[in-house]
Amino acid sequence: MYALVDGPIDVPAVRAAVAQDTAGAILVFHGVTRDNFEGREVVELAYEAYGPMAVAELEAIGREVEARWSGARCAMVHRLGVVPVGEASVVIAVSTPHRAACYEASRYAIDTLKARVPIWKKEIYRDGSAWKANAETPSS
């Protein structure tokens, strides 16, 4: 499951997508809107995506995870539009036979998503807004 959605993410569905009888560990990562950024109060975030390319990149990252960690299964869903404080903008589920690989694979998936998937975030403060860049963004 690699998708962009407009409303709240169905977390049990993302987790169910990686179920397999050989799995000994499942990690579900949630990226959540925080109430502050460097001291400024965040009211909400708004995301936009280059949709077809974003889904293709999510699928490519998932294939990399499943190729690199034996027996891994991966699913990723990113929410678009406004995401209020406390709600998840992204949910990544990974299952593996053993937990060490699960932590590595989950971390790889979110780090790579931030660096490669064409999605943009506007932070809306009480007193303004700003497009926020991930530290992971490669400049070309």
């Binding site: 390319m53 990113h78 975030k121 070309s140």
Partner: protein
């Protein structure tokens, strides 16, 4: 020849539209095209042609979908 150019985030706001058709000479690179559309802009963009990452030195073909990607914020 013509290419379709898509804009997102700060570039969309700067350009005032989501996409447009642009007439470009054959052989124009992505870097040249960006410089001509956003003169003086220092945003460290990445480039995509037909939804795949591409180098600044690549030249799109007639009818291609081109996108300049400002720094990403997903996650």
């Amino acid at each position: 020849m013509k290419v379709r150019v898509l804009y997102f985030a700060a570039l969309r706001e700067a350009r005032g539209c989501r996409e447009e058709e642009v007439e470009v000479p054959v052989g124009t690179t992505l870097g040249d095209l960006y410089a001509s559309l956003f003169p003086g802009d220092r945003v460290p963009v990445a480039y995509a042609v037909n939804q795949v990452y591409a180098a600044a030195s690549e030249a799109p073909s007639d009818g291609d979908e081109v996108c300049f990607l400002p720094p990403l914020g997903g996650g």
